[in-house]
Subunit: 348 residues, 2 copies
């Protein structure tokens, strides 16, 4: 039996294309002491991966040409030589886009999952995984949201933004989402419950549109995109406002030419706090976040939006779709299990 891998065929120019990736086959690795062999079930497609495709360090080592794409997955332990884990366990961790990965105590984001039988396993890659935890930790630990405040959220129909929108509403905030299509705008207001949505592609001057949608100004801006949207949001911030620096996807496709920011004076004038964060720094906050998110999902107060692509060979295509902004909610790749494999639980 062979191990299929999606590898980097060439460095993308701008938005990644399916042809930037290649599918190769090789031997399945043998775990040694301290390691475990895991069968990947779901890959979480992350904007951050784009930063590793250019051959330059970007808080992780770059992925070399011919190297397997690095990405977080939900996986099942096949064979374990690592204390605390045994065959059959379900885990989450930063693995590679392949059938079987090696995992060990140093695997980034490694955690054992205890999926609840009434909750789809796929949620643990998104709404009840990194995306949900990022939204929750960002709003509470970084943004310090308070009921009654106005919270502006970019990429509000995306994996993290859709969760942040719902969480902020549940906390009693006024929520305005920024999106790139009218379909997403409708989703954000109708399904996710935002007070308003702004389509940045059609609204004309974005700062004016944000001001109209946020008549009392913006207290907290959850920034997933950076660039011109960050620039416009800065112009609309209230005194003592907070900017949650979660991601800057608008620049990920062309990191050598970042969008200039002109409104930094607002930092001083409005006494703003801008704070960037990466989830793995706040792992101690994840258990409480996870518990609260489970409660809300189970009570039907949060809708987890998923866009699942079936089959490892389609991972590159799915990533390209996501990075050109064509998708809604959490993007996942569900592994095409083989005939001799059985799904462990309710999958999705």
């Amino acid at each position: 039996m062979l191990n299929r891998q999606v590898v980097l065929k060439r460095h993308p120019q701008g938005i990644p294309l399916p042809e930037d990736f290649d599918l190769v086959e090789g031997a399945i690795a043998q775990p040694t002491e301290g390691q475990m062999l895991v069968r990947n079930l779901f890959f979480s497609l992350e904007a951050a991966i784009r930063g590793w495709l250019d051959g330059k360090a970007n808080y992780f080592e770059p992925i070399p040409l011919g190297g397997a794409i690095r990405g977080p997955s939900v996986a099942r332990v096949v064979e374990s030589h690592l204390a605390g884990f045994e065959a059959g366990d379900l885990i989450f961790g930063l693995h590679h886009w392949e059938d079987y990965s090696l995992s060990d105590a140093n695997t980034v984001l490694l955690s054992k999952l205890s999926p609840e039988p009434d909750i789809p396993l796929s949620y643990y890659s998104g709404g009840l995984g990194g995306s949900g935890h990022t939204a929750y930790v960002g709003l509470h630990e970084i943004g310090k949201i308070q009921a009654g405040e106005t919270v502006l959220i970019s990429a509000a129909a995306g994996a993290t933004g859709s969760m942040a929108t719902q969480i902020a509403k549940l906390r009693g905030c006024n929520v305005v989402g920024i999106v790139g299509t009218d379909e997403k705008a409708e989703l954000v207001t109708n399904t996710l419950g935002a007070n308003a949505a702004v389509n940045y592609k059609t609204c004309g001057d974005l700062a004016t549109a944000i001001s109209q949608a946020c008549p009392e100004g913006v207290d907290v801006y959850f920034d997933n995109v950076g660039g011109t949207t960050l620039n416009a949001a800065l112009a609309c911030m209230n005194t003592f406002g907070r900017v949650i620096g979660c991601g800057m996807i608008s620049d990920y496709n062309d990191q050598d030419n970042p969008t200039p920011i002109y409104n930094m004076w607002k930092l001083v004038e409005k006494e703003l706090t801008m704070k960037g964060f990466l989830l793995y720094t706040y792992m101690d906050k994840v258990p409480a976040a996870s518990q609260q998110l489970h409660e809300w999902v189970r009570a039907g107060e949060i809708t987890v939006l998923e866009n699942i692509t079936e089959g490892l060979p389609n991972a590159g295509w799915a990533y390209s779709e996501m990075m050109r902004g064509a998708t809604i909610g959490k993007n996942l790749v569900a592994m095409d299990l083989r005939a001799d494999e059985t799904a462990p639980l309710k999958m999705h």
Copy 2:
């Protein structure tokens, strides 16, 4: 007896010129209930004033053409109808560039001074006034400096920067100052005790020069200038670094064309905290700051750098000199007292 005022003759184009100001004479105002008439003694020249000269709101109302320039001063109470103040008291507050001002309970930054006889009164406009307090509060409350950290300070030979440089050294930090002349660089290292100084005008690529001067990276950046220096500093920040947003003087002379910032991605990648502040938000921290600064000044551990221009008619010229970067330390205008007036204390 008439009241001389320096007024705004025209909106400056770029760096203010002496001809942008005019000296006029009028009647001395009469204080009514709740007001006091004060005799200004020293004006503190502030970069922030530049933002009020363009006819646009900038956290204060703009100064209208023909209106007196607004600026903080040390003053002596001449006549008081305000509870808690009496004739002869020395005060600090945001007044106007004129001989006599009206002051009341709503005067911004209003405080009663208890100058110590061994300390020059002029210090209360600078090193032991707003500049020193801003440096102290910024480093401690916003930057949260720790001994052993590397602190980068721009405009390090300026009023606030020269105090911040010395305070950070006294707190056990490695301090690197950014300045615009070799004379200032020498002052910052030799007189103020910084570990190194970088002349941004002659160093070539600024980020490279900062990296060389800060071999362990930058933990805290005290930003007085914004613009290209902020951009370069962002590139050199360590993970969890803090940027103290104190001022952005590099853009004050041309606020319609702010310098673009390209390195905002560092906010997320390095999990930075950028926090802007205005001293008046932190007035509760000023008494402790003032006490510590007095101790250091009296012990000779802090040198207060002053550049005093004599005479109200020269205020516009002095401001122009400061805003083109030609001066060192705190810029003050000492009022030309009249023959019938006696200086209240050791002046400077």
